[in-house]
Symmetry: C2
C-alpha cells in the first residue's frame, strides 16, 4: 500500500479502538485489488462524536466511517437516512455522505447474517425461527430475518420488554407472526439463532438446551471465538447442525465495499470470499 496525496481516506471510529481489525483487513484488500484508499483508526470519545463526524466529512477526500463501540447507536441518531436494519436496531456500522447532503448510515450485521444462512443453505422462508437475545446482535439478526419471510419469529430475552420493543418496530413493516418470551425453550423451532454473549468463555453455561430442540433444527451461534462455543459443541454432539457466527462477518465485507462506492471490488470479493475468510480468521 502506498498512500499519496490522492488517496481516499476512511476512518474506523471507536473508543477504545486499539482492538479493531478493519484497518488490517481492508487495507490489505485495497492494496491487493488496486484501490487507492486507506482505513485509519480514530479514538474519539462520545462527547466529541457529533462534531467529529461532521468535520471529517468536510474533507473532500474523506470517504466515510466504519463505526464500532460505543458509537453505533449514537451515530445512528445522527443519520439522515439508514437502511431498514439500522433503523430497527437503532445502530449503524458504516456511514457515508448522503447524495442529498448530510450523512447516511447502514448496519450490515443483519445482511451479513442472512447471507451467511444462504451460504450454509439454510432457508427461513415459512419456517419457525427463534432468536435468543435482544441486544445489538439480536436486533440486527431479527430485523434481517423478518425481511426473509419466516412463518414465525420469536425473540427470547431475559428482559421481555426489550424483546417486545423490537417486535413493536418490526410489526409495522413485516406481516409475519412475531412474538417474544422470557424463556429460551427451543422446542418446535426450525432455526435457532443465539445472539447473547453466553459462550464467549468456554466455561459459560449453555444459553439454550439442545436436548429440547427438534431433531431437524439448525442452530447458528453468532459469537465470534476461535474455538467452537459450548453451544455449538453440545448441538453437534446431539447431531444437530450448528454453524458459527464467523460467516456473518465474512459476508459483510462486500457490503461495506458496495456501500463505500467500490462496486467492482464488492463483486470480486463476493465471487471469491476465500481471501476474506483468511483475513478475518479469529486469532
Amino acid at each position: 500500500m502506498t498512500i499519496t496525496g490522492k488517496t481516499k481516506v476512511f476512518m474506523i471510529i471507536g473508543d477504545p479502538v486499539a482492538q479493531v481489525r478493519a484497518p488490517e483487513v481492508y487495507n490489505h484488500l485495497f492494496a491487493r485489488h488496486g484501490v487507492d484508499a486507506v482505513v485509519v483508526p480514530m479514538k474519539v470519545a462520545p462527547a466529541h462524536l457529533e462534531a467529529f463526524v461532521g468535520n471529517a466529512f468536510n474533507a473532500e477526500n474523506f470517504g466515510g466511517f466504519w463505526v464500532t463501540i460505543p458509537h453505533k447507536a449514537a451515530m445512528q441518531a445522527l443519520m439522515r437516512i439508514c437502511n431498514p436494519v439500522a433503523e430497527i436496531a437503532g445502530a449503524v456500522n458504516a456511514v457515508r455522505r448522503a447524495p442529498e447532503g448530510g450523512f447516511e448510515g447502514a448496519l450490515f450485521d443483519g445482511l451479513g447474517f442472512v447471507k451467511g444462512l444462504d451460504h450454509f443453505g439454510v432457508d427461513v422462508m415459512d419456517r419457525s425461527v427463534l432468536v435468543l437475545g435482544a441486544g445489538g446482535g439480536g436486533q440486527a439478526v431479527a430485523a434481517a430475518l423478518a425481511a426473509r419471510g419466516p412463518a414465525r419469529l420469536s425473540i427470547a430475552n431475559r428482559s421481555v420488554d426489550k424483546a417486545q420493543a423490537i417486535i413493536d418496530r418490526l410489526q409495522p413493516r413485516y406481516p409475519i407472526a412475531l412474538d417474544c418470551t422470557g424463556n429460551t425453550d427451543p422446542a418446535g423451532f426450525d432455526v435457532i439463532v443465539h445472539c447473547t454473549s453466553q459462550g464467549l468463555s468456554q466455561t459459560d453455561p449453555l444459553p439454550v438446551d439442545p436436548a429440547r430442540m427438534n431433531p431437524g433444527a439448525v442452530v447458528v451461534d453468532i459469537i465470534m471465538t476461535k474455538e467452537p462455543t459450548p453451544l455449538l459443541k453440545a448441538c453437534r454432539g446431539r447431531g444437530i447442525v450448528a454453524h458459527p457466527g464467523f460467516e456473518m462477518l465474512v459476508q459483510q465485507v462486500p457490503e461495506y465495499m458496495r456501500f463505500f462506492g467500490m462496486p467492482e471490488l464488492a463483486e470480486t470479493l463476493q465471487h471469491d470470499l476465500g481471501e476474506v475468510r483468511q483475513l478475518l480468521l479469529p486469532r
Copy 2:
C-alpha cells in the same frame, strides 16, 4: 506498513492536496524504522480549517498536522504558541497538541535552510547576507538567518513595504544591521539567497546578476527543481559557489520527527540523511 487499531495517525492538510509527497516520504520512514504511525492526506477548504483542526485533535490517537497550501498562514493564526521563525513568517507547516492545551505550531523551512548551510559549510556569522524575495520562503529564510548573527541582513523585494514588514518583526529580536531594498544588486554581499519563484522555468530571466557578485560570494537558490535553475547555472559558469534548495527540504525531515515526539527516529535520520535525500529527490 501495517495500520492497526493502535496506530498513531497524522494528517497533511491542504487544498489541493493531491500533489503532496509527505505521505509517501514519512510512511516509508515510519515503516522502515518501526514507528507505528501513518500520514494521510486531507483536502480541507479554508472555510472549514479551524473547526477541522480542533476536531481532529479530539481523537486521542491523532498526532498532528503537516500543513501545506493554502493553510500555512491561517493555521499559524490558530496557534497558542509557535517557534520564532513561525511567528516572524506568520506561517506554520507543522502542528501538534500543546502540553498546556490547545495547539502549537512550528515552521521548519528556516531551520532546514540554515542546517543546509551548515551541511554546505557556509557560515553566515558576521558576514553580509542578501535575501532576494519577501514571500513565504524569504520570510522563513530571513528569520532563520537573523538568528545566526550575520553582520548585515538585507532583504530585496519588488514591494519594499513587504520587505520592511519583515525587518520590523526581526529588529526587536535580533540586534543586527537589517535593511531592505527594491533592487537586487548583489555587490558586496558574502551570501546571496534567492527566494522568489523566478527560475521555476528554465526560460525565466535571472533574478539577480552574477556578474555583479563578489568573486568569493556563495549563492543558494531555494527553488526546488530537478534540473539546476538558470541562476545556479549562471553562477557556476562564473566560478561562484551555488547550492540548490534541496538540502533545505532534507534537513527539515528530522525536525518534523522531533516535533512529533519521535526523537529516536530524528536522531537516526539526522545521523544518516542519505535515505531521506533519496526519498525526496525531485521527480
